[in-house]
Subunit: 526 residues, 2 copies
């Protein structure tokens, strides 16, 4: 049996003394795929850390054009390999090739890398700040250590540990990346790493700028995120795994950015139901079932005012939910959804449809709609805020405006919160009562829109208060803001001009870079 | 015995069921001062948290001018009470009234509040980002919970928990503050809180915008920083106390910004010694002895190349150090300095002068200069990187350039790192070898300058990698950058125009606020 090679220190090579191996499973057939991947032990992780440190030293003085060229070349390489990537990702995840993988996620991934390249060239993301009179100057700079990226199972392209948002942000900020593949799609990740490594060789970046391990034991993960040579970690995945990594990183004082879990509450106010009940029911199901409900931003929690319209709405939503289920990413998904639904029922939620695994070739769980009264919900609000990573949504029926406020106040930190209101303003008084409460509990507040679309926009916040993420001030999506997670603030006090980074010298290095000079943003020289 | 009142929920009142009491001690006489202060139990902290939450709700929609007016009024109130503040702080800390307290620290404190007020009015700190085509808009916003501020003992004004940098930053970002006085100067802190509360009443801010407790048991501190109603914490103080609070806050997913400890390495390169040995020796001592060595940025670690000039330099520095010691802030200072010096000696450092407590009326420890060879240092580099909060500095003598690099690489995270080099460039080759290593290990890199001056400049970074602070991306000094610690990133996706904060609406609310519209900084309307 040949194990797939790891990418370490600028070479594709066999894992040294792997501590185990694994294969991916085709979720549509439950049959293991042929390629076998190594589980790397700590010594191999340590080799990667030291190799990355060499890349850090070289990247420190490398012209930023090199990084931009790499990101663009990599995007082109990805597009050239689109067929292979789409085919492999489809085998490993059962996500549809069209439109999802080929027409949506792959272009998004390439676009994200190109946006990162543009930010690198533009340099305004560095927030160069010049106090000319005092000769104090500061700038966001790379961390001086590798960034470890742990990618999730649900976006084999756009959040891939060696191609997705965290990767693009960490590299564009000037840091080498040590990627830990999601074990659901190691083959896809390997194809990306091949494309990345070719781009590295083509553009002359230090060879260890990108490294790939497929899997490491939990202890090695804790050592990695807390190691003196690590700069920071980006993790997207389960709350349980993320919190253990967070504990290790926190203890060592190493930044770790986590995207953990979110139920994404949707408040549909009475006027909106009165105005466009059917349309909202359809929108809700479309958003819930996108990617078979395996989106961090899936609306898993809907709040309505209990009345005749809400009954009609529930019935309409239920009709959508009784459609046949899609194939989940793996056996673990079926198990955790079943546990979550069971827990909701235990705390008083009633299943309107679904609530059981569906037999067949693939991993399937019936689309599941649950409901609970506001009174029952408020008896155990934390137990009932549980992310079920599938087509599952819990509808909470509030008795009145006061109870709706109380429900809003009970919410934990979420990535998003959405409000549907009457177009002519009849819901505005209620909105004004509830929205400010939700505002402080979510990263992104939406109106008349489901949260599953996460545009790669400079104004996006894909983040939010704990436990949605580990810090309310950062976004995981959006260039250049997402890059700030992987930077240190570097101040230069009375440093001689020729020793300053070009971005902090009097002359604007590009003529277009935005800097703060003596308190004002400007593109001029100092 | 009457206990000094606490400021809770908009009223000066007696502590409810205090769990203890304490007095401040005059460090110049070792005699307790007359005023007695309560130790508040957890129930009182909880009352403060709930009161602060009411202030959060009101501040959310209050015009920002209100906060700006408050900060300016408060600055004026402080200046009006300068005599009382200076007298009390002098009694509690033994710091000289002139120039330190009256001419340096008090004006700095008032200026910082006024800079914060200007930032509030200007609003550019909010980084309003508009993606007009997609109607996605984001902004830095208050945290939605109180900020707890734990101030240090060494700056009774400029870092005071109810008047200093963290306070100004947290309030200017729109958060109420729960201040925990430093127990070394409760009377000074009370005077500040009186001035602040008057300004609150005068300007009509919610009464619980500023609250003051003098002391709380450690467990109550852990509960405070991890409470659901807390937004974030700012802590400046000892590494031991800070790390315990950090652990509690981290576990709850609550941001905590810490300024813990720093030895602030100074590299004096051979050409600089050749050129201006005497001047640098005088500068080093002046910086070391500022505030009796009780500055976070005190140069406690000096690296030289071992040669004849370094011997001459050491002798010159020693001559400065044999001057009589100043009065330390408290008995704890004498104890921890003695422990640190003992530890350095244990690991091979040799005392050139000092190394003992000095008897007398006040708390004194002799100015202490130590030296150690690079070889000996590198046997226990971590044990010898110990902050001694007094006029104590350890000189490490490197054998050659390679060893100087190794010493640089051994450094933990520091607030600052300084280089003295020959004015004509003869040290530049060595600088280029060492400075990049130091760059990644410090927040602020200096040339030809000691680090003790920390200007309140937009370009300042008073921060650095762990264990100097808890996160390398934030500064504790400098407006507006320091405010970003106390904010959440709020995104509005498809939100109706009249529901947006004024800063995110198409029209620029001030006409001068800097915003990022479609990728470019501008003061124009969208």
């Amino acid at each position: 049996m040949t194990l797939s090679p790891v990418l370490i220190a600028g070479a594709w090579r066999q894992a040294q003394n792997p501590v185990g191996d694994f294969t991916a499973v085709n979720p549509a057939t439950r049959i293991a795929l042929p390629d076998v991947y190594p589980v790397s032990g700590w010594p191999e992780v340590e080799i990667a850390l030291h190799a990355a440190q060499e890349a850090v030293s070289i990247l420190r003085t490398a012209p930023c054009e090199l990084l931009a060229n790499f990101l663009e070349q990599y995007a082109a390489n990805i597009e050239r390999r689109a067929d292979a990537l789409v085919e492999m990702a489809h085998l490993e995840t059962a996500l549809p090739q069209i439109p999802r993988l080929r027409a949506v996620e792959l272009p998004r991934t390439a676009d994200q890398l190109r946006q990162a390249a543009a930010a690198v060239r533009d340099r305004s993301w560095r927030h160069a700040t010049l106090d000319v009179a005092r000769n104090i100057r500061s700038i966001y700079a790379p961390l001086g250590g590798a960034v470890a990226v742990f990618g999730p199972n649900n976006f084999p392209f756009a959040f891939n540990s060696v191609a997705g948002g965290d990767f693009a942000a960490a590299i564009a900020a000037g840091n080498p990346v040590i990627a830990k593949a999601n074990t659901g799609h190691p083959g896809t990740t390997r194809l990306f790493a091949e494309a990345a490594f070719e781009a590295i060789q083509h553009t002359g970046l230090p060879p260890a700028t990108v490294q790939l391990l497929y899997r490491i034991p939990p202890d090695a993960g804790f050592q990695l995120v807390s190691h003196p040579l690590i700069g920071a970690t980006g993790f997207t995945g389960s709350r349980a795994a993320g919190l253990k990594l967070k504990e290790a990183a926190d203890r060592a004082g190493k930044p770790i950015y986590l995207e953990l879990s979110s139920i994404n509450p949707i408040f549909v106010l009475p006027g909106a139901l009165h105005e466009r009940l059917e349309a909202i029911a359809a929108e809700l199901f479309a958003s819930c079932s996108l990617g078979v409900g395996q989106f961090c931003t899936k609306p898993g929690f809907v709040v309505l005012m209990q009345d005749a319209a809400s009954e009609t709405f529930l019935a309409a939503v239920r009709e959508h939910f009784v459609s046949p289920p899609g194939i989940l990413l793996g056996a673990g998904g079926v198990r955790t959804i079943a546990q979550a639904v069971e827990k909701m029922q235990h705390y008083g939620a009633e299943v309107l449809t679904g609530g059981e695994e569906v037999a067949g070739d693939g991993f399937c769980y019936a689309n599941t709609l649950l409901t609970v009264s506001g009174d029952t919900y408020l008896e155990n609000p934390h137990a009932l805020q549980i992310e079920a990573f599938g087509v599952v949504s819990l509808v909470v029926l509030a008795r009145d405006a006061a109870q709706m406020q109380e429900i809003a106040r009970s919410l934990e930190g979420n990535l998003t919160g959405s409000f549907y209101t009457h177009s002519q303003g009849t819901d505005d008084a209620l909105y004004d009562q509830i929205a400010p409460i939700v505002r402080d509990r979510v990263g992104r507040l939406l109106n008349d829109k489901m949260p599953t679309g996460v545009a790669v926009s400079p104004a996006m916040n894909h983040g939010g208060p704990y436990p949605a993420t580990g810090h309310p001030g950062f976004t995981a999506v959006g260039i250049p803001a997402a890059m700030l997670r992987f930077t240190a603030l570097h101040c230069y006090d009375n440093v001689r001009p020729h020793r300053l980074p070009p971005e902090l010298q009097d002359r604007n290095p590009t003529g277009t870079m935005w800097r703060i000079i003596n308190g004002s943003w400007t593109q001029a020289d100092a």
